[in-house]
Symmetry: none
Subunit: 270 residues, 2 copies
């Protein structure tokens, strides 16, 4: 899998540096948030994905113990949060703004999925500050706020139950941003794939053993071996696994050998 | 922009029908959840993305008022939740299992991103019940639980702060599943994947046989069985293959039994 090398890159200093620079030019802007607990939970969601710039437009209660409690270990984002009196203040200096919406109709703007919009936002973040704008819990963004955005983003949700908690929406969007900011793929552990000749040696060993234990009696060896080859081909056997499997085969026959020897020994002793 | 079309397709009746059938064959399994509030929040996250099948393995408190409160309008999922006494009970009948992990090292299984793994899960969901497995809040899944999965999934997170709340993780995964399910057209499977209990039956049969033939002598059964589980997990065993492998195991023991009998017979004849 191509993922193998990438985790190394993920933990390399340059990598983290580059990604962090990009993420640090992305603001999450929460407008007129009603419940301080949601601000804390949003901060936690942001931080898990490497976002740190939190802007709050006229939050009803902030700072607030509920916000601290819900932020878990992300209280640093709350302490550094920028509280603004207007949306223009919050968007000051931004070169691109994406606004969240639950509505899909009666909207003049282009509505994108998170997967379409977040790469756009990340690209612009390489050029200057950008903002991802979330409206108030109950009614979302006003038309005036929507008018400040270049694109609208809608999280496709269950038509019968689309009420994502604002922190859940922040989590999904932060995740998409993080994925957009990098092509990270957690890798498979380092493995030693068994070379062809080792795998073939295993198949010979397997077939010999199956013959010896009488497995093929009244069956079709060729067809069965083909099925077994297909099974182990899908598994992409590693060297250690070939050794384990051949160890099992050896144990099978050695056991019989021990019985035979003991049997012959007894005969001699008579 | 394709973003416009997606919501339209999403709300078309056939689309919802097909997608709902697929989503209904996907179980979200929460193992030993400590805080009932997390169960409620997880249910809400599931429902926003169209998931309905919630399984709980030995939850510390359930049902619980906190779970109801956090579920918002998703209390129907809590009422229909299946509470299980063991992981095998929760995975009964599943043809594919993906398990969440926060660890990337010291893991034998293949580790995929949500974006890689959820299309796999959705494809298998077109063939039969599948499960997405979440461990307990503090310590995650046990090695035994991980051993039941075909793939592991890791949400790439901030290396300095990776503590996604379990409901946040469920939200991200449900979102990825919902996105993946839009691409899936349920069809007839080419093969018959072996259900969980058949695979577990094979592993029991295998271990018993290895004990009988003395394979484990001076080796570590648990570690070796984990390696063998990993091998066959990658192979995604089919029913016929399970039958073949168990046939081999039976032939092994029958052969040894015949040898013993003959040996004892000879003794008597002496």
């Amino acid at each position: 899998m191509s993922g193998r090398k990438i985790p190394v890159a993920y933990f390399s200093w340059n990598y983290v540096l580059d990604k962090q620079n990009l993420m640090d030019s992305i603001r999450v802007v929460l407008s007129h948030t009603t419940h301080p607990g949601n601000i804390g939970a949003a901060a936690r969601a942001m931080k898990t994905m490497g976002l740190r710039q939190l802007y709050l437009i006229n939050p009803r209660h902030f700072p607030d113990p509920q916000a601290d409690a819900m932020s878990a270990g992300a209280d640093d984002l709350l302490r550094e949060a920028v509280v603004c009196g207007s949306i223009d203040e919050a968007l000051q200096g931004t070169v691109f703004v994406a606004a969240m919406t639950a509505r899909l109709r009666d909207i003049s703007h282009e509505v994108l999925t998170p997967r379409e919009a977040m790469p756009l936002l990340a690209q612009h973040a390489a050029q200057g500050p950008v903002a991802l704008l979330f409206g108030t819990e109950m009614s979302g963004l006003t038309n005036e706020e929507i008018g400040k955005a270049q694109v609208l983003v809608n999280i496709p949700a269950n038509p019968d139950y689309s009420s994502l908690n604002i922190a859940a929406a922040v989590q999904v969007m932060s995740y998409e941003l993080s994925m957009a900011a990098q092509g990270i793929v957690p890798g498979m552990p380092e493995v030693q794939p068994a070379p062809h000749e080792q795998v073939e040696g295993f198949f010979r060993h397997l077939e010999d053993t199956l013959v010896q234990i009488g497995f093929f009696k009244s069956k079709h060896p060729t067809k069965l071996m083909q099925k077994l080859r297909r099974l182990y081909a899908r598994a992409r056997l590693e060297q250690e696994e070939v050794n384990i499997l051949r160890g099992i085969l050896s144990a099978t026959t050695e056991y019989n050998a021990r019985l035979k020897t003991r049997y012959q020994q007894e005969q001699k002793d008579v």
